[in-house]
Symmetry: C2
Subunit: 204 residues, 2 copies
DNA sequence: GTCTATAGGTTGATAGAC
DNA sequence: GTCTATCAACCTATAGAC
């Protein structure tokens, strides 16, 4: 492995990702980022024009590969994937991604931030995913209405986002809670829970 | 109904709640708050000492009544509540609260903000609730391990938080998604989903 | 309790030299 | 492309008059 001397633009993206994930978009200043990246302050505006545009770039760089992976996993499960395969394709690329420079914490922020400009990105990047996955689920659960499927996907996304953002404090919140298991175990628990939720009889 | 002339302290709390919910804690300045509340800037520091202490007060004012309501609903379901009753007691007080000055949006922020000082409040206000509800669930689902119950409560809290934070954009995210139903309908959907998730056989 | 005034520091963004 | 220097605006917090 050759240590790549990352160029300025990449260094800024890496530093911004790390700090946005740790402290949020508002609380992270451009000066924090340039200090972390060890580049000049003016370089941010030269390469990204504005802070908001930098946020756009940081988010898109991580989300797009994840979404491609989701679609690829769904494809590779064949023309008639079962519910568990679908849910794993939906969640594994998010939960299992490499946390090189804080990608997981960043993703937790994106899911959890209701601010308008993040919401806009949410729409941009997730609409096609929701469309594709809700269609696949509809094929395995034809008795569910499309509306119900979308709601349950909404619930499932919420559970997944919460796992990203807060799982690390389960042990300290609950006395006697065991060590955090590895990601595969968490994913398995989540898939079991969500699959049962999807299979519930509609209307209660 | 007599229109109460709220005192300065209450006006600040109301304005802060509204703006924290709308824009987040970092993006809301004390000047934003005092302008909204139509009080003097210095009044904030007089009544609350610091911004962080104001945030504490704003959050505690809304969370504590909700948690009392949760415990009361669980009590009133009798000594052996079924799973649905437990889940309704857990979620209804959060989802159905009056959104007078932005309480629901504030609650969404609290659940969704992974910052340390919010996490600390999370522990302060929710540990007892989790303890009580996980115990009640354990009585109805004795075959589940305590660890599994805590994980599934974690997932359920995530789904609920996501409903608070993002449900309003389901219609615009999905072409053909119908109008948002009333809160009771959303709650019923969520309870159906979560109850099935809890009843899943452990270990898959 | 409420106000004005201000201290002391940070912010995003840019102009202009190299 | 990268730097220094700087602007104008904003921030939290406090001192001190009333």
């Amino acid at each position: 492995m050759i240590a790549k001397p990352a160029d300025t633009k990449t260094r800024i993206l890496d530093a911004a990702e790390k700090l946005f994930g740790k402290s949020g978009f508002d609380a992270t200043s451009l000066r924090d980022i340039t200090a972390e990246a060890d580049v000049n302050l003016a370089a941010v505006n030269y390469h990204f024009q504005s802070k908001e545009s930098l946020i756009d770039s940081v988010i898109a760089r991580r989300i797009e590969p994840v979404n491609l992976k989701r679609l690829a996993m769904l494809e590779s499960a064949g023309p008639n994937p079962n519910l568990e395969q679908i849910l794993i394709a939906f969640m594994a690329p998010v939960l299992n991604q490499q946390d090189l420079s804080g990608a997981i914490e960043l993703m937790a922020r994106i899911f959890a931030t209701p601010d308008m400009f993040v919401t806009r990105l949410f729409k941009t990047h997730f609409t096609a995913i929701v469309e594709r996955f809700s269609e696949a689920i509809g094929k395995t659960l034809p008795e569910l209405s499309r509306t119900e499927i979308l709601w349950r996907l909404h619930f499932t996304g919420g559970a997944m986002a919460h796992v990203l953002a807060r799982s690390h404090l389960l042990p300290q919140m609950m006395p006697g809670f065991p060590e955090l298991p590895d990601r595969q175990t968490v994913l398995a628990r989540l898939v079991t829970y969500a699959a049962a939720g999807f299979r519930a009889t509609e209307g209660f």
